[in-house]
């Protein structure tokens, strides 16, 4: 397939006019004046804005159940039997049909990071999926991209309320330190049962998996960094609702930040989300990914709306679009496959009739996921 004459926003800060040849679901060639081959489908993208598909770094699409009227807890994102479950893998819970039903392509998303919730200290490993399909393993782009951890208040609400630990941040940080230490010292012994939790955590300590750590406050982040000091790990901070422009240490340590939106959270902490501060940090070199809210209530507009709110501050698409595309791809270790419009990458491409980071009049004409059209303007949005 050939996309002719579009205005390409590559997702890494470049904007230019060119043609794109797609072959076998990948971007084969980007050049001006590409001539259609015999039997090649040609899309006239003159006047259209060609964007990479947006990536929601942290989501529960496909595992957030159906929140039905019949059974209130039909979700698979929460193993609330134990706050320490690093041995679990989200890839086994992902329901392709449930994710597809949300028609995320109609909202400009082509790729999702899927994670357990922030309700466990160590929730398990996360994975990256396509947004449309049936077979979860065929939809999976990267089956194990990180270990989800959380020192947020969520733990207290999920467990403390049931009168089991943790009821306090004291427990949360004590166990955060203890579990890491145990994992660092763990050696499988011959006649002893293997400790699957420690084995899972060792992947983090051996830098095989980055640790995605969800924090509420600035102090949460500082406590966690102090505890993590003895270990050489790859760390990604998530949420950080209190982080402001003075938090230079996050830049010095080269830690990326995944910003979760505060739509539908209704809690005091998330109201402290300081996008202006985060924008200022990003100007100083912080790598930022804009993502969606935690919890079963997922929001399809989150990434775009956070991008829009960032545009109000930075007013520069070249800075904001990478936060919705290339940075998430890097953070999720799928930047070789997607996250920008470049030769050799998946054809995760969205044609807009207008620039969505400039005008609300922007509508999607077509969303291609791996070269396959998954949404076209005029398609009726699905209902359940």
């Amino acid at each position: 397939m050939l996309i002719k004459n579009g205005r390409i926003h590559d997702g890494r800060g470049k904007i230019y006019n060119s043609d794109i040849r797609i072959k076998d679901g990948k971007i084969e060639k980007i050049a001006t004046d590409l001539k259609p081959l015999k039997n090649e489908e040609t899309v006239d993208a003159k006047g259209l804005e060609v964007f990479p598909g947006f990536i929601q770094t942290l989501s529960h699409w496909g595992i957030n159940g159906s929140a039905t009227e019949i059974r209130p807890s039909s979700s698979d994102n929460d193993e609330l039997s134990d706050p320490i479950t690093p041995q679990l893998d989200v890839k086994y819970a992902f329901n392709g049909r449930a994710a597809s039903a949300q028609q995320l392509g109609a909202f400009g998303l082509t790729t999702i990071g899927v994670t357990p919730t922030d309700n466990n200290l160590f929730g398990g490993t996360m994975a990256v999926f396509e947004v449309d399909g049936l077979n979860p393993f065929e939809m999976c782009i990267n089956p194990q991209v990180g270990m989800m951890a959380s020192v947020r208040n969520n733990l207290k609400l999920a467990y403390g309320k049931r009168n089991v630990a943790p009821q306090t941040k004291m427990w949360i940080f004590e166990q955060f330190a203890t579990q890491l230490k145990k994992a660092a010292e763990y050696k499988p012994e011959k006649d002893k049962e293997r400790d699957v939790k420690m084995e899972a955590l060792q992947k983090v300590l051996k830098k095989k998996l980055p640790l995605f750590l969800s924090v509420d406050t600035k102090q949460d982040a500082l406590h966690a960094l102090e505890i993590l000091k003895p270990y050489k790990i790859k760390l990604v901070l998530c949420n950080g609702y209190e982080l402001d422009e003075k938090c230079d240490w996050i830049i010095d340590k080269k830690i990326p930040l995944v910003v979760r939106s505060n739509s539908m959270t209704m809690d005091d902490t998330s109201m402290r989300l300081d996008l202006k501060g985060i924008a200022a940090l990003s100007e100083k070199g912080l790598k930022v990914a804009l993502s969606g809210v935690d919890g079963s209530w997922q929001i399809r507009e989150d990434v775009l709306w956070l991008g829009i709110n960032m545009m109000r501050i930075l007013k520069d698409e070249k800075k904001v679009l990478p936060m919705m595309t290339y940075n998430p791809a890097e953070i999720l270790s799928v930047d070789k496959q997607t996250g920008s419009i470049e030769e050799g990458k998946r054809a995760d491409i969205v044609l807009w009739n207008n620039n969505p980071l400039e005008s609300y009049k922007a509508e999607i004409i077509t969303t291609y996921m791996g070269g396959k059209s998954i949404y076209r303007k005029g398609d009726e949005l699905k209902c359940m």
Binding site: W61, N64, S66, A67, T68, E69, P72, A101, Q102, L157, N262, S263, M264, T265, M266, D267, D268, M271, W297, Q298, I299, R300, E301, D302, W305, I308, N309, M311, R312, K315, P356, L357, E358, S359, Y360, K361, A362, E363, L381, K382, C383, M384
Partner: protein
């Protein structure tokens, strides 16, 4: 006294933009809108190249009264609590009002939550500083009611009526019937204390609904809106359809004269089966095209105040004209709340609740709010102006 000079003014009286100055008097009202106003003693705000709009009105919110762990607007101990009054559930110093001001929301309709079939009275409150009484625009503005999964979910846990939509409709109709009878008894008593029915605050709160002085404001999704309109016709009361996901399935039903407005949103959600199965932002244009008064809401703090304009923007994405879309959170909202004599448009004698943006916020996603004025006082200002 202020004079806002040379702005592009969208009064919302009609769909046009005019170049005009606005004179704001010391009583906090709009004194005059005209070209080349010069007034001694008036402080000049230069709005050249800027967009001037009426303050935004959030027609459905709970800020100041609800947080996840701290509820003051949902008395979920009884499914029918008409005697409740949001007036007593709001903390006027809540910082959310400051966030509202920064996002151009100068007035909110604050109402009980949706845990109960009948939740209590709502009020209209401005976002400026001060006590509730100083900021109150209308009390009561509505009697809040709810259908569907919310009340059902709350009382199912307690094995109490209502555990089904049958139970909800019954409780709603039963309450309205009791108010009718109460009114009838009062009327027949002709002020004779011996014949008067026993005073009942809950039934008293329903009288202005039956008298059509205030609407029943009903949390309604999907097919429940048909039920609500049926009940409105049965008792000849006014209703507003709040949330209204799925409204595009029922345009003809919503044209009914008992429906005073549809307040759509907040849409920020994925799909889920049942009443969350359809999210039809296109209904904003659809309703507007059919002459049905439509608004959008934050449901604050369910969605934060900065997303109100994003919701307006999504209606624009679905084909609504950006000016018509702005009406949803200005004049339409004011009319639905019946406070359009005071707010909702920029007109002489109305309250000086005025916003200045650097671009049209329903079209340009980058538009920044530069100044918020409430009752003629500047309550928020960016450096650039």
């Amino acid at each position: 006294m202020y004079v806002i000079k040379n702005g592009t003014v969208y009064t919302m009286k009609d769909d046009k933009a005019i170049k005009a100055d606005i004179l704001v008097n010391d009583k906090g009202k709009i004194e005059k809108i005209a070209r080349n106003i010069s007034a001694k003693n008036a402080e000049v705000i230069d709005a050249a190249g800027k967009v001037v709009l009426p303050g935004f009105v959030d027609a459905h919110s709970h800020i100041g009264g609800v947080f996840m762990e701290d509820e003051d607007l949902n008395e979920m101990t009884n499914p029918v609590t008409p005697e409740m009054d949001s007036y007593y559930g709001i903390n006027p110093t809540d910082k959310q009002f400051k966030i509202a001001v920064k996002n151009g929301i100068t007035t909110s309709c604050l109402i009980p939550g949706s845990g109960n079939v009948i939740g209590g009275w709502g009020i209209v409150l401005k976002s400026n500083e001060g006590s509730i009484d100083e900021r109150l625009l209308k009390h009561p503005v509505c009697l809040k009611a709810a259908t569907g999964i919310n009340p059902k979910g709350v009382y199912s846990k307690a094995n109490r009526l209502p555990m089904s939509r049958m139970g909800i409709a019954f409780l709603m109709r039963d309450y309205l019937r009791r108010v009718e009878e109460y009114m009838d008894k009062k009327k027949k008593a002709k002020n004779d204390p011996k014949k008067m029915p026993l005073y009942d605050l809950g039934l008293e709160h329903g009288i202005p609904v039956l008298e059509k002085k205030i609407p029943l404001k009903v949390h309604t999704y999907m097919h429940d809106m048909v039920t609500v309109v049926e009940i409105a016709k049965e008792f000849d009361i006014n209703v507003t359809i709040d949330h209204a996901q799925g409204a595009s399935d029922y345009y003809d039903v919503l044209k009914d004269k008992h429906v005073k407005g549809v307040i759509f949103g907040p849409i920020s959600a994925g799909l889920f089966p049942g009443e969350g199965g359809k999210i039809d932002f296109e209904c904003c244009k659809g309703l507007d095209d059919r002459g049905i008064r439509v608004s959008v809401m934050t449901d604050g703090p369910v969605t934060p105040e900065n997303l109100l304009i994003c919701e307006v923007g999504e209606a624009v994405r679905k084909g609504m004209d950006p000016i018509r879309a702005l009406r949803m959170i200005t004049i339409n909202a004011a009319e639905i709340l019946m406070v359009d004599d005071r707010i909702g448009s920029l007109e002489e004698k109305k309250d000086a609740d005025i916003l200045i943006f650097d671009a049209l916020p329903s079209e340009d996603v980058r538009a920044n709010l530069l100044l918020t004025m409430i009752n003629g006082k500047v309550v928020y200002k960016k450096d650039e102006i």
